[in-house]
Amino acid sequence: MRTRKIISIIILLILAGGFILTFSQIPFGKDKINVAHYYISKGIEETGAVNIVTSVVLNYRGFDTLGEVTVLFIAAIGLGAVLFTEKRVQKHASKSKDDKTKKASLILRTGSNLLFPLILLFGAYIFVHGHLTPGGGFQGGAVIASGFLLMYLAFPKQSINKKSLSVVESLSGLIFVGIGLFGLIFSGYFLSNFLPKGIPNTLFSAGIIPIIYIAVGFKVGFELTSVIDDLLGRGK
């Protein structure tokens, strides 16, 4: 074991040397912006979104985000496939026998009842204003998923209907790809922003961005919930 440690330390030192050398070539904080100038200067009038990061994420580099959503989708499906067990049905039955699983404490149950709608509201706010304020579909989805996690903690016995989760997931995914395909049909470019841009800094602006972000928000929220559910091993 000792030799392994020594070797790995030597390797890491060499890697550190490599890092130092390459980082010295990339001065920290200097203005290295090159292609990004285009986004910054013409970002607003081309995409209509005030939040340039969102315009980059969805319009200029929308394909990445599509890939991104697919990765999450794969993770959820993969998790379902790997943790899929027929036994789950028996576990469900065995659970009813020994009912000793501790019920959550009163404070947790009432608190979560109160907080759950607020969390959902806050999450919805984040992904609806994706193109105006920092944050977007992914961050809003994560907040929603944390709400559902809270409910899982509060009510150990209940679990969400997996069927509906997967339907919402695939529907929102379809919306995203559908918009892309519509873009292809209308303006000849996949994922092009064919809807009217509207006035920047207002809610209904930046063409397809809010729609996509809403779809992504739902998708990420429910996907992370199904991931949590699979990991807890409770859902049907």
Partner: protein
């Protein structure tokens, strides 16, 4: 156009035979015979024509595959077609009760087609393609019977793949340095190449063809392959397929490198030809005497196959017109004798239910006279008794060896002949002569379709023995194509200035003497016919069934020669395989299964890249 029809007929024929095989056995047998007969006729018709056709082009390598016909290719093509046809005819009855008969016929015709392709191809690429197709076709056919044949097949294919890869290496280096693979253009281009390069090429080709022609150090696959293959196929294997190596030698040594260049290779005694002759000589002596010790009839014949191959290599190694003619003629002669002897063994196997052990057979002359006559003709052909075909070719090889002042090579060849006599007589005696054991009492003669090939081949032995002029005319055509001054021979012997050989006189004198002696014999007192049990046993009672001396036939000779004939080369190959297997085992241990080590490998690779960069400034 004619060449393409030959190839198309033989390849498609194989396919058609396989398809008809699905419906009915009879139709398949007949169509197989017809296809092989058609091939023989087509090749026969294309006698002395010079044809050259491009039949396929590979633009991305700007190469084109082409076929050509000259005397050399026609000579080998007719042997391939003839022996192929006879073996198909022979196997009609022989293969009847095996399973997978459709596969067998398809493979036989496929291998024949491959050999025709080799012989007719005019550039090295098509030569190599057909060569490889023949090799893996043979592999499937050798391991066709299962059991021990599987190991024999594997041994064969490994050595054959190694040989053909050496050949591929040479072919591609030729293509890389000269841009063309046509035999004709290569022949002229190679004249200006450096001797070292030519030596390298010759070495690679000798390895490639040596494996197929089983010269001494590359011969270890042949005994197993012949012993385990199905008899009709081992007839094709020993008669013709192994001689593709000989065709290759002739092709590379004479039609491409050419005689003049060959002499320039090496200095004084150490030139390429002389070494090849010595390899040929060793290939004659050692395998022939190992054949002495064999108890399995097919293995005995297999070792003789290697031995006779030595004669051919010796013949063309001497590089005089008489020597080359002797070598080529001996290829034809051995093809006929070898195939005949394997047919004989096949017939015996067919009738005695697969018995090949020489110690269990005996006295079959009484039950199978035709097979005996064929066997007698075969072994006399193998020995080279006068008035048989091998006598002429051996005579030519000896004559040129002595005239070129190589007495020791001549001695090796002579001793090889005597070794053949001893072992081949043991073969004949243990099978046909002596007491007929109980269990073979009611053995019948082989059916007609098996007798015809045997009779035809025996006649061929005698015919070429008495009138060697027929093949020699073609061979002189071949030598003209090599640029060597051709050998002018009369129809039945050698002209005055070459040497004293007049076969018609020998035949006439033998007949007269035979008649005179027969007269004396029949005039004297009659003798009554007795059966085998009424025998002299020095007064004792003749023990039924056990009164046969065949086991350890040359016992005293074994004790003297035996220890020297242990097959050292075979042990070396097995040792090599063993060593490589253990090294593979060590290499396998790199993948230890531990995640940390795998991650270590990745980071090591990365640091290696970076370190090499920092240190070296690549």
């Amino acid at each position: 156009m004619q060449l393409i029809t030959i190839l198309v007929v033989s390849f498609l024929g194989a396919g058609i035979v396989y398809l008809t095989g699905k419906f009915s056995g009879r139709v398949r047998d007949i169509s197989a015979v017809l296809v092989s007969l058609a091939v023989v006729i087509l090749v026969g018709l294309a006698y002395n024509q010079k044809i050259y056709t491009n039949f396929y082009s590979l633009p991305f390598l700007n190469l084109s595959l082409s076929l050509r016909l000259n005397y050399l290719s026609w000579f080998f093509a007719i042997i391939v077609a003839g022996i192929g046809f006879l073996s198909i005819l022979f196997s009609l009855e022989y293969i009847k009760d095996y399973q997978g008969v459709g596969f067998y016929y398809f493979m036989m015709l496929f291998v024949n087609a491959g050999m025709l392709g080799i012989v007719l191809s005019a550039d090295f690429l098509s030569f190599y393609i057909f060569w490889e197709m023949m090799s893996w076709g043979t592999y499937l056919l050798i391991s066709y019977k299962g059991g021990k044949a599987v190991a024999a097949g594997l041994k064969y294919i490994i050595m054959s793949v190694a040989g053909s890869l050496a050949m591929l290496f040479a072919i591609v280096s030729l293509y890389a340095s000269y841009g063309t693979l046509k035999f004709s253009s290569l022949a002229s281009l190679l004249q200006i190449a450096s001797p070292g390069y030519i030596l390298f090429l010759l070495l690679m080709f000798v390895v490639g063809f040596g494996v197929k022609n089983a010269i001494w150090t590359l011969h270890t696959w042949l005994p197993d392959a012949h012993a385990e293959a199905v008899s009709p196929f081992s007839a094709v294997l020993t008669g013709v397929l192994v001689r593709m190596g000989m065709y290759g030698f002739l092709l590379i040594m004479y039609s491409i490198v050419g005689l003049s260049l060959l002499h320039k290779l090496g200095y004084g005694l150490l030139n390429f030809n002389y070494i090849l002759c010595w390899i040929g000589a060793i290939t004659i002596v050692i395998p022939t005497f190992t054949a002495l010790l064999q108890n399995d009839s097919k293995r005995l014949l297999a070792w003789h196959g290697i031995g006779q191959g030595g004669y051919m290599v010796l013949g063309i190694g001497v590089a005089t017109s008489l020597g080359i003619a002797g070598g080529i003629l001996h290829t034809l002669n051995y093809a006929v004798c070898g195939a005949l002897l394997f047919f004989v063994v096949g017939a015996i196997e067919h009738r005695t239910g697969g018995v090949r052990d020489l110690n269990e057979l005996g006295g079959l002359i009484k039950r199978m006279p035709v097979t005996f006559i064929a066997g007698l003709a075969g072994i006399s052909g193998l020995i080279g008794v006068p008035l048989t075909n091998s006598f002429v070719s051996k005579w030519m090889i000896y004559k040129t060896l002595i005239m070129e002042n190589y007495p020791f090579l001549a001695f090796a060849a002579f001793i090889g002949t005597w070794g053949t006599i001893l072992s081949v007589y043991k073969f004949l005696h243990n099978i046909f002569l002596g007491q007929l054991p109980e269990k073979y009492k009611d053995v019948k003669e082989v059916p007609l379709t098996m007798q015809i090939p045997m009779i035809l081949l025996s006649l061929a032995i005698i015919l070429f023995g008495i009138l060697p002029g027929i093949p020699l005319k073609v061979i002189s055509g071949i030598e003209k194509s090599f640029g060597v001054e051709p050998l002018s021979t009369t129809m039945f012997g050698m002209p005055k200035e070459i040497g004293e050989l007049n076969l018609i006189n020998i035949l006439a004198v033998l007949l007269v003497a035979g008649i005179v002696v027969y007269l004396i014999f029949s005039l004297s007192a009659k003798s009554r016919r007795v059966n085998q049990d009424d025998n002299y046993a020095a007064g004792l009672f003749v023990p039924r069934g056990k009164y046969q001396y065949s086991a350890r036939f040359y016992d005293q000779a074994y004790r003297i020669i035996g220890p020297y004939l242990h097959d050292v080369v075979d042990d070396f190959y097995y040792w090599l395989v063993g060593k490589s297997k253990s090294s593979f085992q060590i290499v396998r241990q790199i993948y230890t299964g531990n995640i940390n080590t795998y991650a270590l490998y990745i980071l090591l690779f990365l640091t290696l890249l970076i370190f090499v960069k920092l240190g070296w400034g690549l």
